[in-house]
């Protein structure tokens, strides 16, 4: 469970048995080709895998550098790569014979993916979400509840993702015997970083095959955004031994490198080694070891730690860290929409910003693959916040009144 100095399993004693059970099962299944096939079948028939590798011909020409390709994780069922991991863990839950899953969620994407998996596989699901996040991301709460999940608001502390994660761990401490904790990213105590990377690895396995078929060789670079790190690990995994393929992780540069205004952990003078949330990695923290505040225009990148595997791969030089600031991200978002007709998530737009910048410095006979981890239209509220305009607030105002009238009409009926 260690990657260089990072990783490990630093959890309250009560959680250890569940983690070792999960690890034992994972190690056994990891070497079982029929399990991987079962996983591939599930992702194919339910989520539409393989997702395509889309050439951006117009945009590449416009930028004048490398040929840019997008790995289309936005086309997954539920609109992001998150579902890969969740479906994989669902299979593990079935093998372990557990009937209940819990998850934490920030903006709601991982919670939604978990709710979808639970509905598909017939499991009970409880999703923990900070009370402030519920208030700001109600649309995802709406979907999770329609999917039959219980959404629990967490009122402690800052009432956001961190508190939701802690609360989910607290639930797990009392329910491990029948409950699986579906961790959403390649972080947390072992075996989660490896486990999540394993399932997300389907992304890079497909990229490899598709690059051979569509380009005729491996790409020169692969670029992914890095929040917790699951989509980056997914996009990089199969290429770790291919030294000629550059691997670039783009973090959220936010407003500036000032404390609390970004979520950059892999660049020098940002995060430092720490042990929290069950594992050792680079955390944004103060000298007293208190985890810091973060900011990103993309809720999914707004995280204080980072995958211990990526922390290690960055230290060894295999992964090149980059960052993109909020305004570069919105520019890349607009450019992709207008030039190629694809609506990216703000998270993925970090990879676009970093990838476009690099592509410009490359030659037209070079190829760069950007992992489009999710689509933007699932998050219109977040995106509208990034592009403020009065028509939107007026629309919401009217729609709020309409919704109120509609609800009152149903009350009258009863």
């Amino acid at each position: 469970g260690y990657f260089g100095e990072f990783g490990g399993r630093y959890v309250p004693e009560i959680l250890l048995p569940a983690l070792t059970e999960l690890e034992d099962m994972f190690f056994a299944l990891r070497d079982d080709p029929t399990f991987w096939q079962e996983y591939l079948t599930l992702t194919q028939e339910f989520s539409g895998r393989p997702t395509p590798l889309t050439p951006l011909r117009r945009l590449s020409k416009e930028l004048g550098g490398a040929q840019i390709w997008l790995k289309r994780e936005d086309l997954n069922h539920s609109g992001a790569h998150k579902v890969n991991n969740v479906l994989g863990q669902g299979l593990l839950v079935q093998r372990m014979g557990k009937k209940r899953v819990i998850a934490e969620t920030g903006a709601g994407q991982h919670g939604l993916a978990t709710a979808i998996m639970a509905a598909r596989l017939g499991l009970d699901a409880t999703i923990y979400m900070g009370a402030d996040d519920i208030e700001r991301q109600y649309s995802n709460v709406f979907w999770m509840r329609q999917l039959g999940s219980k959404v629990v608001g967490v009122e402690t502390g800052a009432r956001t993702l961190k508190e939701a994660l802690d609360e989910a761990l607290r639930d797990w401490a009392g329910s491990v015997e029948n409950t699986h904790y579906v961790l959403g990213t390649a972080c947390g105590p072992a075996p989660f970083p490896e486990l999540v990377s394993y399932f997300q690895g389907v992304i890079s396995q497909e990229i490899k095959q598709q690059a051979m078929a569509q380009i005729g060789r491996l790409p020169d670079e692969i670029v992914a955004c890095v929040g917790g790190g699951s989509n980056a690990m997914g996009a990089f995994g199969a290429f770790l031994e291919d030294d000629k393929v550059g691997l670039v992780g783009v973090e959220a540069g936010g407003l500036s490198f000032k404390e609390g205004e970004h979520s950059v952990r892999l660049l020098p003078d940002t995060a430092t080694p720490g042990i929290a949330q069950g594992y050792k990695t680079l955390f944004l923290q103060n000298e007293d070891g208190q985890l810091g505040d973060t900011h990103s225009i993309a809720a999914g990148l707004d995280y204080v730690g980072v995958s211990p595997i990526l922390a290690h791969l960055t230290q060894t030089g295999r992964v090149t860290p980059e960052s993109a600031q909020d305004h570069e991200v919105t520019d890349a978002f607009k450019l992709l929409m207008k030039t190629e007709g694809i609506i990216p998530a703000l998270e993925s737009s970090h990879a676009l910003a970093g990838g476009f910048k690099r592509a410009k410095t490359m030659r037209p006979d070079q190829h760069i693959v950007i992992n489009l981890s999710g689509r933007g239209d699932k998050d219109i509220f977040n995106i509208a916040r990034a592009f403020p305009q009065p028509e939107w607030s007026d629309f919401l105002q009217r729609e709020s009144e309409r919704a109120k009238e509609l609800f009152e009409a149903t009350q009258g009926e009863k």
């Binding site: 630093y10 502390g157 961190k162 761990l169 607290r170 401490a173 923290q285 208190q290």
Partner: protein, 255 residues
């Protein structure tokens, strides 16, 4: 010092360093000692207290704003261990603040500040093992936890490194809710005793005199923390001390 096997039950209680503020901590601890509590955890507040219930989570959140930290905890320990030589102070912290401080240095400074034991919920026994010679040399007891789902071979390993007492997590779940002290619990205690002669400190879910009575004769220490912090939050440290005194009397645990 720590009790020994089969001593009469005593209560361990709690301070979150910086809650409600650093000055008040001293007063509150004095009140606890006055009430008859001789084992006191000094909790370093942390931004991500995953193993605590809501009462302690919110206390940590507030304590951090008041300057709670490792250094503040050591400074407090130094004062209170001098002022209350017959009380035993245990440093309770999540790993990261201590790791950032430097574990070796922390152990040395804690010992110098009069700390006798150390509870670090997210530091498994494997991580303690390399430090055991140092800890034994400094006279600091790692108070390790066992839980109902800890397998026997692991209880054995934990017992080997444990010093002072073993912290027995009473049930699945986290601090602050109700627990039952029935047959299953007694079987669990019996199982742990078969691996160690150290006294047992039972924690999680001890909310009133009835719980203490139930544990009398079963364990040597009962951790009474969340409920005390609730008193402190809602009624102040003086009232909390008075409640504690009354509790010990109700449970027939007054000296």
């Amino acid at each position: 010092m720590f009790p020994t096997l089969n001593d009469k039950l005593q209560v361990m209680s709690h301070a979150v360093v910086g809650f409600p503020n650093l000055e008040e901590n001293e007063k509150a601890i004095a009140g606890l000692v006055e009430s008859g509590v001789k084992l006191i955890e000094l909790q370093v507040p942390f931004s991500d207290p995953v193993a605590d219930g809501h009462t302690l989570v919110n206390a940590c959140y507030d304590a951090l704003k008041q300057g709670g930290s490792v250094r503040a905890t050591l400074a407090l320990a130094e004062k209170v261990s001098k002022n209350h030589p017959d009380a035993t102070f245990i440093l309770m912290s999540y790993l990261n603040p201590l790791y950032k401080y430097g574990l070796e240095q922390l152990f040395e400074d804690a010992a110098a500040a009069g700390i006798k034991g150390m509870i670090i919920p997210d530091m498994p026994v494997e991580q303690f093992e390399p430090f055991m010679p140092k800890l034994d040399e400094l006279g600091i007891a790692p108070i390790l936890m066992v839980t109902p789902n800890t397998p026997d071979e692991r209880v054995e390993r934990i017992a080997k490194s444990a010093r002072g007492m073993i912290y027995v997590v009473s049930r699945m779940g986290v601090t602050g809710s109700q627990t039952m002290w029935g047959e299953e619990f007694h079987a669990y205690i019996k199982r742990i005793r078969s691996h160690t002669d150290l006294p047992l400190s039972v924690g999680f879910g001890i909310r009133g005199a009835e719980d203490l009575k139930a544990l009398t004769g079963t364990a040597e220490v009962a951790a009474f923390c969340s409920k005390y912090i609730e008193w402190q939050r809602h009624e102040g440290s003086d009232a909390a001390a008075a409640h504690m005194k009354a509790l010990l009397a109700d449970a027939n645990l007054s000296d």
